[in-house]
């Protein structure tokens, strides 16, 4: 797998670039996480939660009509959209909520972009009786109104963030600021494989159920592994979760799809790996979209969950080693993919996941019919319906 996991590095990427105030909390988290992963009771409890609360395992679905329409590879969908709360995010929040209990902390905080991680955190908090506050940029509160209501219904408090571009990065800043003053009794449930160690490794491990199940299901259905796996990349957690259990299977090609936004000019997209450079953001060294002075660049994506100027350090490592190929999908292509998948399979994907669907639709026709293309369908599109309706309406004009 990756090098130097103990010290929190993946090759030259990762680390703990955070204020001293947070260092003891990270050390505690690291200790508890290691102890938990070695503790059979914890693992059994986590498995039970995944089964009984998240509804795992999620289905491995053969997309027959989409396959026929595209006339190439056999397309399968890993149905993370079928999880309780509608995305893969619940896998991670259940794991971290269990750790919160283990650490004896009573309050959790989270950042959210699309609101899926916020909803998943609020859900886990409700299940375990934890206080929950979720930071969310006001631009995302606007685009993901349904999820704001869900979080509140679940008993969480949504704190609007008005700094910066008022999106995911800014919500992450505010959550870290909160944590600086609340570390003694609060756990910060980070929503992706980003941030200081041990978050990238820990979140990836909690998401690996996606890849482990996929591997087993594929072997059962097709008696072999897929030729290609496609996943969208915001911070990179759904991608890492499906990639890692097959990363040593060299025949499996892996593709990560970042938000290509309106154009590939700086400020118009959120493609940190494809267009960024090594830098430091939110506690880790990775690929970052920055200006020459080191200020974080503006980003844009139609999808709130991908609208982030950084990416998990392990993806940076996979980019450099060439294990994973990273590409982009534009706002327009993602929208077309939402419509296409809805009509072909009766599945409305999240705008985030639609980025992976769009890439798959591009490459499937070039593949042979006996080849297998697996898409990680990270979430469902209910939360995006208002936003999609607005955009389709504007398109008509």
């Amino acid at each position: 797998m990756s090098e130097n996991e103990k010290s929190g590095y993946f090759g030259p990427y990762g680390g703990q670039f955070v204020p001293e105030t947070l260092m003891s909390a990270l050390a505690q988290l690291q200790r508890e996480y290691r102890a938990a992963m070695a503790d059979e009771t914890f693992i059994a409890e986590f498995d039970r939660c995944l089964r009984e609360i998240a509804g795992r395992p999620s289905e491995m679905y053969f997309a027959r009509r989409l396959t026929e329409q595209l006339g190439g590879a056999k397309i399968y969908l890993k149905r993370e959209d079928m999880n309780h709360t509608g995305a893969h995010k619940i896998n991670n929040t259940l794991g971290q909520a269990l750790l919160t209990l283990r650490m004896g902390k009573k309050r959790v905080i989270a950042e959210t972009g699309a609101g899926q991680h916020g909803v998943a955190t609020a859900t886990a908090a409700a299940v375990f009786g934890l206080d929950c506050e979720v930071y969310m940029g006001t631009e995302d509160i606007r685009r993901q109104a349904l999820n704001v209501f869900r979080m509140e219904l679940l008993g969480a408090r949504v704190i609007p963030v008005t700094t910066g571009q008022r999106t995911l990065k800014d919500a992450c800043n505010e959550a870290m600021r909160d944590w600086m003053g609340s570390v003694e009794h609060t756990h910060y449930i980070l929503g992706s494989v980003v941030g200081p160690a041990p978050f990238p490794e820990m979140v990836r491990e909690f998401q690996c159920c996606i890849g482990r199940e996929s591997r087993e299901q594929m072997l059962k259905i097709e008696s072999r592994l897929p030729d290609t796996i496609v996943a969208c990349i915001g911070g990179g957690s759904n991608a890492a979760g499906i990639f890692v259990p097959m990363i040593d299977d060299e025949t499996v090609e892996m593709i990560g799809v970042e938000a290509g936004g309106r154009s590939m000019g700086l400020g118009d997209h959120a493609a940190s790996l494809v267009a960024g450079q090594p830098g430091v953001l939110h506690g880790a060294r990775s690929y970052v979209l920055q200006d020459a002075d080191g200020q974080t660049a503006q980003v844009h994506s139609v999808s709130a969950g991908l609208d982030y100027p950084g990416v998990g350090p392990e993806h940076a490592y996979w980019k450099d080693t060439g294990r994973v190929r990273y590409t982009t999908c534009s706002d327009d292509d993602a929208l077309d993919a939402v419509v296409a998948l809805s009509r072909a399979e009766g599945i409305i994907p999240a705008l985030e996941s639609a980025h992976a669907v769009a890439e798959a639709m591009k490459i499937a026709p070039k593949m042979k019919p006996e080849q297998i293309l697996l898409i990680n369908l990270s979430g469902r599109g209910d939360k995006d319906c208002n936003e999609i309706a607005d955009i389709l309406e504007r398109r008509k004009k």
Partner: protein
């Protein structure tokens, strides 16, 4: 020890404030290099950063300002013998982007004496320490209330210039009172190190300065100064400098 956001409201004002502070006998100024995502800072300093960035302030322009400030305050000689020590407070995101070695060299060359990188904890600082010392910059390290005792000593051993003790677990901002535990910790720390210890975060008036300086070698005042700059932002520069300078005078009075 006053904290100023470099370039807030503009670089000329920052230079004028430095001159005023130096004349009042301030010995060290911490100059914050504006950053888009300062996670250790509260709204007062954060807003000043955003404001400075939107008017185009960069590290390079700040270095130019410091260079000419050093020249003007010491016109006769090329030898650097400043009254006022300048310490840059800068995010590692910026330092890394510029290249660690060249950033440190440029900062030192411009006339900075030290550097504080608040998001570069002990574990990550190992590579930077020798580079800072060969550039002639003191790498000031921070200790937090959450830092365990043995780790405090380890950080104290690595810190150069002074040790920055963060008085409260939290972000920068004005506080009415500081935790007594922090005062006790600093008193205890001083028995283990000869490096001066300064206390920052939350120190906001002459009274807290006096209180802090009973045990510490210095008090760092940030948000309280920035908030006064913000209040006087639209006034003519002389008036702003006068008002802020007056406040510095107040802060210094218990130390005289």
């Amino acid at each position: 020890m006053p904290f100023l956001t470099a370039g807030y409201p503009d670089l000329e004002t920052t230079a004028a404030l430095l001159k005023d502070f130096e004349a009042r006998g301030v010995r060290i100024v911490e100059l914050g290099i504006p950053f888009s995502d300062p996670i250790a800072d509260g709204p007062t300093i954060q807003t000043s950063y955003t404001d400075a960035l939107s008017s185009g302030v960069t590290s390079e322009k700040i270095f130019d300002m410091v260079r000419s400030y050093r020249k003007s305050s010491n016109p006769q000689s090329a030898i650097r013998n400043p009254q006022l020590a300048l310490v840059a407070m800068v995010s590692y995101s910026i330092v890394f982007k510029h290249g660690v070695e060249s950033y440190l060299a440029e900062a030192a060359g411009a006339g900075f004496d030290g550097i504080i990188i608040p998001d570069l904890p002990l574990e990550e600082a190992a590579d930077l320490e020798p580079l800072a010392s060969s550039a002639g910059l003191a790498n000031v390290m921070l200790i937090a209330p959450t830092t365990p005792p043995e780790r405090r000593l380890e950080i104290a051993r690595h810190s150069r210039g002074f040790i920055y003790y963060i008085s409260i677990a939290g972000i920068t901002g004005e506080r009415v009172r500081l935790p007594e535990q922090s005062i006790r910790t600093v008193a205890e720390l001083r028995t283990h190190t000869d490096t001066p210890v300064c206390i920052g975060f939350g120190v906001s008036n002459a009274e807290t300065v006096a209180h802090v300086c009973e045990v510490a070698d210095g008090a760092i005042v940030g948000s309280a100064i920035i908030h006064r700059i913000t209040d006087a932002k639209d006034a003519p520069r002389d008036e702003l400098v006068g008002k802020v300078g007056e406040f510095i005078g107040e802060l210094l009075s218990p130390l005289k």
